[in-house]
């Protein structure tokens, strides 16, 4: 139990997907213009992570037992694409309003590096921190919440930044990069955090 809690906190703050590993940066920068959509995307990413990681965990265990580790890239991406498709159909069937608000972002999660990245980090931690289905779920949940925090935080800052006087060449992308850099510096104070 303690181990799980430690893994959870560590994956949110210390090994934050965005600030420590730059995962899911493309959609992170593109979608973080307002808080509402970024919250929706963050929740969708968290959900997909929680579903995909345990599936990939067991599949990787199967590959490892048969000495086929080099197939892991293709298998992971196929599972992710399949699950995103499945989630899309389920959400469309049972909650049309959420489906409408997520719109195009739902299918785009398939190429979000955060999902693939978490699967690959899980592969590295296999047998260590992530050693059964439950810890895979916890790792996915923690990584997802870390990503959600990061995108909602940046969206809130960008909403406020519209009213400030930024030098013309820095406007838009440039200042966003520097803002994320400063946020990452702030998150670095969590490094070494242990429970």
């Amino acid at each position: 139990m303690e181990q799980l809690l430690s893994l959870f906190v560590k994956s949110i703050f210390v090994d934050n997907m965005v600030f420590a590993f730059f995962l899911g940066m493309c959609s992170y920068l593109a979608v973080s213009k307002n808080v509402k959509t970024s919250l929706g995307l963050g929740l969708a990413v968290t959900f997909v992570l929680v579903v995909t990681l345990p599936v990939n965990y067991y599949l990787f265990g199967f590959l490892k037992a048969n000495g086929l580790e080099y197939l892991s890239f293709i298998l992971f991406i196929a599972v992710i694409a399949g699950i995103v498709q499945l989630v899309e159909m389920v959400v469309e069937r049972f909650s049309p309003s959420l489906y409408a608000s997520l719109g195009i972002f739902l299918p785009l999660i398939a190429v979000n590096c955060a999902i693939m990245g978490a699967s690959l980090f899980m592969q590295q931690k296999y047998g260590g921190d992530v050693h059964d289905g439950v810890s895979a779920v916890v790792y996915g949940l923690g990584s997802g919440i870390g990503w959600l925090l990061a995108i909602v935080g940046l969206a809130a800052i960008r909403e406020k930044m519209q009213y400030s006087n930024v030098p013309a060449p820095l406007k838009g992308l440039g200042i966003t990069f520097i803002t994320v850099g400063l946020m990452a510096m702030a998150f670095m104070c969590f490094s070494g955090l242990k429970i």
Partner: protein, 211 residues
């Protein structure tokens, strides 16, 4: 021959190096661009791998473009890219093991690199194999260019070396009170350095500025 190197084809190759740069203008493939730039060697290897994978994936998709059913095209693209990435990853492990350890998961993450999906969707699905090859080469090199610039500043200021050649120790600069800035090799400074490059490019080229 002259048709192969027409003006249009030259632009397809050279535009991504400057005015339609994938990283600083199209904002694609940021994840790996920032993560592998702590040193010049991994940045160089990463830039080369992405260029090769992008050029070949573009050619393959372009050859298949009329046979892929529209509904499943994303999965087809992903599988082709994943196969190419697996090959490159195995080659790196065999011939450049320490670099492949340094790059860790980011080699696998080339699969979800947005540059690949972006170029496959926007260019290779609509153009012939030769143009697609040039486009892939151009975009890959545009990506590598930014990687190498960022890595150059981070390695010089952060570790005091170029391609692992430590000039600070070589010339005993510490004796004059020079200190490496350890913050440069940590993740946050990758973002700030990249922001500054965008700042410089947009100050030079006013058309790229956002309103």
């Amino acid at each position: 021959m002259s048709q192969l190197f027409s003006k249009k084809n030259k632009e397809v190759f050279s535009n991504p190096l400057s005015i339609t740069n994938p990283v600083t203008v199209q904002v694609l493939g940021i994840c790996s661009a920032l993560a592998v730039t702590a040193g010049l060697r991994p940045a160089f290897v990463m830039g080369l791998s992405v260029t090769i994978i992008l050029a070949f994936a573009n050619v393959i998709i372009s050859l298949l473009r009329n046979t892929i059913p529209n509904r499943i095209r994303i999965i087809v693209q992903l599988v082709i890219v994943a196969a190419l990435v697996t090959i490159v990853s195995e080659i790196l492990k065999a011939f450049a093991y320490d670099v492949s350890v340094e790059l860790s998961v980011y080699v696998g993450l080339i699969i979800t690199n947005c540059i690949l999906m972006g170029r496959l969707e926007a260019f290779a699905m609509m153009n012939g194999p030769w143009e697609s090859f040039l486009d892939g080469l151009g975009n890959g090199l545009g990506y590598a260019k930014i990687l190498i610039i960022v890595a150059f500043f981070r390695e010089i200021l952060g570790a005091g070396s170029i391609f692992g050649w430590n000039f600070v120790q070589q010339f005993h600069l510490e004796d004059f009170g020079y200190m490496n800035n350890g913050l440069m090799v940590l993740p946050p400074m990758a973002l700030v350095v990249c922001g500054c490059i965008i700042w410089y490019e947009r100050a030079k080229n006013k058309e790229l500025q956002e309103k």
